[in-house]
Amino acid sequence: MTAEIRNDVIVATERIEAPPEVVFPYFTDPALIVRWIGERAELDPRPGGVFSLDMGQVTACGAYITVDPPYRVVFSWGVPGSDTLPPGGSTVEVVLTPDGDDTIVVLTHRGLRTADIGTHRAGWEHRLGLLRLAAG
C-alpha cells in the first residue's frame, strides 16, 4: 500500500487478492461500500447518478461521472453546505487493473488544492472539510 500527495492530487494504491469483478461492486453497491467506508450510502452507479456517503459527522456527496465495470469508476466528492468543498468540487477516480489473480487498485483524488494550503482561503478551508471527512 502506498500513497503520494502531490500538488492537488492524492494517489493511493492497494493490491487486493481478488479479481476486479469482485472488487468493483465495493464502489457501486451501498451494502458493500459501507464495509470499508462510511456508515450508510446512497449510490446510483450510472453517469450523473447520486453518490452519497454518510460518514457520521459528515456526508460526502457527489455524482458518478464514469462507471465502466469492472475496471474504472469516477465520482465527484464534496460536502453539502460547504462553500469551499462543495459537492462535485473534487473527483475520485478508481482504476482496477488485473494482475494475475489479483487486482491493483489505484485511487486518484484530484482537485484538493493542497498546494494552496495557507496561501488561499479555499486551500486550508478545503483542507478542514476534508479533515472532517478523515476524522469522521
Binding site: M1, T2, A3, I5, I10, A12, T13, E14, R15, I16, E17, A18, V22, V23, Y26, L32, R35, W36, I37, D101, V105, L107, H109, T114, I117, G118, T119, R121, W124, E125, R127, L128, L130, L131, L133, A134, A135
Partner: protein
C-alpha cells in the same frame, strides 16, 4: 520581547484538537492574511474576552498562531506551517480506506489455500 515567537511544531493531535472548535477556526480565518491584535479578534465574537483569550491560548499551544508584541499590544497571525501535519494526516485518509477495502474483500472472498504440486 520584540522578536516574533515561532512556536515549536506541534503534534497532529494538538493541531486537530485546536481545529475542532468553530470559534478557533474563525480566529484562524481572521488572522490568516493579516496580523491582528487580540482586542480586534475578540471584537469579532459574541464571547467574553476571557473566552477568546482561552481560544487564542489553545491555538498558540498547537502552534497555529504566532504572537508578536508591539508596545502593549499583542499581535497574532496564522502560522501556516503548523497545518503541515494535518496535510500528512489527510494523505492517510485514502490509503487507510483502501486497507479496509482490501480486508473487506479478502475476508468475504477468501482464496482457497494453494496446494503443492
Amino acid at each position: 520581547m520584540a522578536e516574533r515567537k515561532q512556536p515549536a511544531p506541534a503534534a497532529p493531535d494538538a493541531v486537530l484538537r485546536a481545529l475542532a472548535d468553530p470559534h478557533r477556526r474563525q480566529i484562524l480565518r481572521l488572522v490568516q492574511h493579516a496580523e491582528l491584535p487580540a482586542g480586534q479578534i475578540a471584537a469579532s465574537f459574541a464571547l467574553t474576552q476571557q473566552a477568546v483569550s482561552q481560544h487564542i491560548g489553545v491555538l498558540r499551544q498547537a502552534g497555529l498562531l504566532t504572537e508578536r508584541r508591539e508596545g502593549t499590544r499583542r499581535l497574532y497571525a496564522l502560522n501556516h506551517q503548523a497545518l503541515e501535519p494535518v496535510r500528512e494526516l489527510l494523505s492517510e485518509f485514502w490509503p487507510d480506506a483502501l486497507s479496509r477495502l482490501k480486508k473487506a474483500v479478502e475476508t468475504a472472498h477468501p482464496r482457497p489455500p494453494k496446494r503443492e504440486p
